[in-house]
Symmetry: C2
Subunit: 194 residues, 2 copies
DNA sequence: GGGCGCCTTGACCGACCGGTCAATCATCTT
DNA sequence: AAGATGATTGACCGGTCGGTCAAGGCGCCC
């Protein structure tokens, strides 16, 4: 049941999504009330419920949107690169850049994973992300460039390193993206090597 | 201001801590009310506030307690092992075992990191954990066994891999601890190698 | 101008939540 | 037996939150 929206309406919608993401990320999902969001936008409460059926659904949309956006960014960066190891490197670098530009999305996912209602969405998103990485890793194993171990485990490890370094050095310490990406790539490629 | 407690009282306290951890982990912190906790224990609400000043403080105690417990476990496992690389391996294995036995603590920390009020505690705990790992990594670099890179970055990477594999394979897929630990150690040691 | 449909307002509602407290019970000490 | 003190009860309170809705404005087309 999607509403008919004019251009003005679509803008408003995006405005709410962005502001909600910002506030959820800064204060947390539960401590941020719908009243906070609309007050921050200087509009009435009804505006929120004109564009979204509930606070919960808006949050799920944020989760799905972030995942889609990150994934598109990774795919764009990888393009048609034939070397699987290089594809992984490009994926890591693209993720770092995206995390840097979408700091708020980080906390959202981390919170969502801890709440029954949102965990399924996070799990699904993660499975997709891992499946993407697994494809390149399998290719690398076939070429003998990557250790012959469970590709799923290797993929989780790579994602773990990337996200952890992003959180610690990009978000908390605000270090240069390239430098952090270099470190992540160096560690991961060594870790993958056969 | 700590209360005088009899043995019975100390037991009750622990009972509340354990039950709260379980419920927070299963449903999330905010969706779990104090009423839920005491109802699950079949006691009156006053019992909770006899032992804890607030829901918030109980949660902080859970965070600090988990960190202390995990750290002790790591230190016990490492003992006086002289080889720094082996110390890191023992630390990873001890962490895996601890995560396996304290599944509920995982979600708590992850949630706490996303909420303003608890984030400082999480950050402090993380700094201590990283500082521990950094010591061994520095030793390894001096011995030429570990790549000469920022030890802090390497430590974060190792912790990232360990926690991610623990979450994905221990908690979500319930695979054997040793197997997951082996995979984490293999990836991390290769990643650290010079 | 007049009507129609997108958009906005904000008072209001029922539910729930964290926390309090006067009263009572239980157990140990003297 | 009689306090004293630890431990427990659950009704109650003020406040907040997600969500509703009747009413009204705003822009566009006939």
């Amino acid at each position: 049941m999607t509403r008919k929206l004019t251009q003005r309406g679509r803008d408003r919608r995006l405005q709410i999504l962005r502001e909600a993401a910002r506030l959820f990320s800064e204060r947390g999902y539960h401590p941020t009330s719908v009243a906070d969001i609309v007050a921050s936008l200087k509009v009435g409460k009804g505006v929120f419920y004109w564009y979204f059926p509930s606070k919960e659904e808006l949050f799920v949309e944020l989760l799905r949107g972030a995942h889609q956006d990150l994934r598109r960014r990774q795919q764009a960066a990888i393009g048609d690169e034939p070397d699987p190891v290089r594809r992984i490197e490009l994926g890591i670098r693209a993720s770092m850049a995206w995390f840097h530009e979408h700091r708020s999305s980080f906390n959202l996912v981390q919170f969502a994973a801890t709440e029954e209602r949102f965990a399924p969405v996070v799990r699904h998103n993660r499975e997709v992300a891992i499946a993407d990485a697994v494809r390149h890793i399998k290719d690398g194993i076939v070429e003998g460039r990557i250790a012959d171990q469970d590709p799923g485990v290797l993929a989780e490890a790579v994602v773990g390193v990337t996200e952890r370094l992003a959180q610690a050095y990009l978000l908390e310490r605000d270090e240069p993206v390239d430098q952090v990406a270099d470190a992540a790539v160096a560690f991961c490629l060594r870790g993958l090597m056969g």
